[in-house]
């Protein structure tokens, strides 16, 4: 698997994400790809990291959505390639229209950095295959605008089609339905606010994030390496 971690100006979880991929999966290549890159077509999976792209000025993700590399990211996503956005990456995917809904400021208007309980709602996606449905994960959140908003109809659709992959076990930020992570209709794009790349080692508090990355890797292996 060749993985791209996109570096926007202001990304700051890019290296953490690349450690998660290179130290804990068997990915052959993990590249930090600058926002100016014209194409990410050569990669099997594309990761949008956390941080404050373009300072998160105006709205989180609003400006990054137009970064040069995003055209190719959008094109690859539409063709079914694996795209994962974490935190700011999720916000960018929302602004880019690859996922439905929008982010508002946390309900108490404060940035929150804390390890929280996250529930696996759907273990049948390429991002969550190695988890058990209903399992509780300890994963850090770190965001000021993670209050997920969508209209009632969108919410019903998300629910009905099992596109809600992760929820918070407590109402940490005001999100509709305590949503922590959703996929697109095709299931190849996931956005989530919690930071699995910060939950890779017990030394740092939790290793519950590992299986997210190994799930992505296994999905790729299962769909690509069959013949060899």
């Amino acid at each position: 698997m060749k993985a791209a971690v996109i570096v926007f100006p202001g990304s700051n979880c890019d290296t953490d994400m690349s450690y998660a991929l290179s130290d804990f999966t068997d990915a052959e290549t993990v590249d930090l790809v600058p926002y100016t890159a014209e194409s990410v077509a050569e990669y099997d999976a594309i990761f949008l990291p956390g941080g404050f792209s373009y300072g998160d000025y105006l709205r989180s993700g609003a400006i990054a959505r137009f970064a040069p590399v995003m055209q190719s990211v959008i094109a690859e996503a539409e063709q079914g390639k694996t795209v994962l956005g974490i935190c700011n990456g999720f916000q960018i995917l929302l602004e880019a229209g690859l996922l439905p809904g929008a982010m508002k400021r946390n309900k108490d208007l404060k940035y929150i950095c804390r390890t929280v309980d996250v529930k696996v709602e759907n273990a049948d996606t390429r991002f969550s295959g190695e988890y058990e449905k209903g399992e509780t994960l300890r994963i850090p959140i770190a965001h000021g605008e993670g209050n997920y908003e969508c209209d009632g109809q969108t919410y019903e659709t998300l629910k009905k089609n099992n596109r809600i992959v992760f929820t918070y076990e407590a109402d940490v930020n005001g999100s509709t339905g305590q949503i922590a992570g959703i996929t697109n209709e095709a299931g190849n794009v996931l956005g989530m606010m919690p930071h699995p790349e910060r939950a890779m080692e017990t030394l740092l508090g939790s290793e519950d994030g590992r299986r997210l990355f190994t799930s992505v890797y296994r999905h790729w292996r299962d769909t690509h390496v069959v013949t060899t």
Binding site: P9, G10, N12, C13, T15, D16, Y19, G50, G51, F52, Y54, G55, D56, Y57, K110, Y111, I112, C113, R114, P140, A142, G144, H195, E197, R198, M200, L203, L204, G205
Partner: protein, 741 residues
Amino acid sequence: MSLQLEPTAEEIHAERLYADIGVKDHEYERIVQLMGRKPNYTEIGLFSVLWSEHCSYKHSKPLLKQFPSTAPHVLQGPGEGAGVVDIGDGQAVVFKVESHNHPSAVEPYQGAATGVGGILRDVFSMGARPIALLNSLRFGPLTTPRMRYLFEEVVAGISGYGNCVGVPTVGGEIQFDDTYDGNPLVNAMCIGLIDQNDLQKGIAAGVGNTVMYVGAATGRDGIHGATFASEELNEDSADKRPSVQVGDPFTEKRVLEACLEVAKSDALVGIQDMGAAGLTSSAAEMASKAGTGIAMNLDLVPQRETGMTPYEMMLSESQERMLLVVEKGKETEIEVICEKWDLETAAIGTVKEDMRLTLTFHGDVVADVPVTALTDEAPVYDVPSEEPADFREHQQRPVWQPQSSDYNETLLQLLSQPTIANKEWVYDQYDHMVQTNTVVMPGSDAAVLRIRGTEKALATSMDGNSRYIALDPKEGGKIAIAEAARNIICSGAQPLALTDCLNYGSPEEPSIYWQMEQSTAGMSEACRTFDTPVVSGNVSLYNETNGEAIYPTPVVGMVGLVEQLDHVTTQPFKQAGDVIYIIGEAEPAWGGSELQLVEDGKISGQVPTMDLELEQARQQQVLAAIRAGLVQSAHDIAEGGLAVALAECVMGTELGADVSMKDDVAELFAETQSRYVISVAVEDAEAFEQAIPAARCYGTVTDEKVLRMKTTEGQKLIEQPTDELHHVWKGAIPCFLKSKA
């Protein structure tokens, strides 16, 4: 103001206009002497900032000299952007603390944010990647809307800036006291990590080399910030509002990445951030350190506003700017890197042999000053010092006795004091995990960061209890250093070195100067005992409101080295059945204690004594026991005494404790120094007792969530459910903030 409207050299003299920008009469005369003529407006502006306390340390230099600053492991002591300490394997740790007190009092969000920005630049200008931020804060009681506003905004500013740049804020400390009501303190510390080969210095070496400007464009913000920081706050302070700068962490992040790339380029000769006094101090100091001169064409300075004068450009404190000296002919190497990060650059000057700072603007020479006159010749004052009357008085008072008889109630009261209460409300707003190295997060004695690729880690803590220093500056100064070291020890690390921020009132007041002398003497003595040199620091004076000075508040930021990750130790109890040991005897010295403050509403009398030899010996014993794997948890006994320390060990766990002791209020609440609470697995108890003979067994960790303290005769002293303790301790600060009164 246009250039034509500027006062002439004659007018500056005749109308004493220099006084308006903080230059004293005799200083002005000295300037005229050094220059051989009267300075024009731009020139007097340069002197006013470089000769301000903030840049020249004119009242504090002699005191700073007492600090030990060398040791085999010190690679760079005071004098550069930050201190540098060897941690082995060719790596070094780079750190410094800086104050942003006055700006934060006027505009708390931006004041605190730009304080973080400034200290980050001090560290990455050395070529080091910032890996951690800490902060030390002082506020008045949270009982007024104004103070709650200041507190909330300062925390938001620190969080807004540090989180965006992507450097984890891993620790710090906060105290609340009436003394800071009009003058809160905001000190920020940054730690960086570097390969020793990549170390940079702020020097303008090599005649003919190019002086380059990198980063945000210059605006009129913060003009006179540096002198502002050296004046007392008074009712007019509101009028100085334009001197508040606004930070742009997004630009800082790009400047950071660009500078770390630039630092690897052999085109770079020297680099320094434009901090206080902006272009003036960076240019003058870089030239001074290299023994060269700099000629700059101010027309080439990137400008955000139109019509800026040389005075304004030189004194602007616009943030997120760096000054570089680049080998002649290799400017494009730097430009390419900056372009990649979408940053403005401009070649604005040249390194000269003449040791002068020469500025041109619209074709005219607008300033021409010997560099040494600005830097080395800055005045240093021999300040009169006088022991204040109340010092003797406190020393001679009869020993203070607490009235407390309901110990349960007292413990809950102590836990709900904002100074002792849980600070989660604060550090939950800081991203303390980004960069994925934070092994021990905020909330324990010291934060611990692993060093990726090694088995080592860094421990760091900020401390400084000003109440002891107010009553007894010398003992208090020792205690500040000792407490920081003890926190480092408890986390399993050997203290390496420290940075300090000296926050005081006006040094021109003899009794305050005496406090400065005494406290720094105490600190120096402690530093020598622990072999923890002072490698960097900052001085913030004139912390007064309407003539009322704050308590003398030196703050210590210490860094230690954990040799092996499995030495990392934290304060909560780990397992039922573990044996609880206390090291050190309680003594009835209550001056400056939390209990005294709770009972009397003020502090008085004698502070706990500090036996440095004993302290050092115990620290090493505790560290040895930790390294030998004998320790499950370690916590020092500080504010609120043993009862509070034990409560802190059970809170947040599923455990309780059963201990018995003498029936003595000092045993419960005294803040006697050099004491620890340590829990040890039963099978290691014997070995632990051999390792630390002074340790006495007080009881055991239980799986019943209750803290029980009783007399050796079995009589109840304190009995509180762990959850109740936690509830009170955790709820205190949010509760204050919710109150509307």
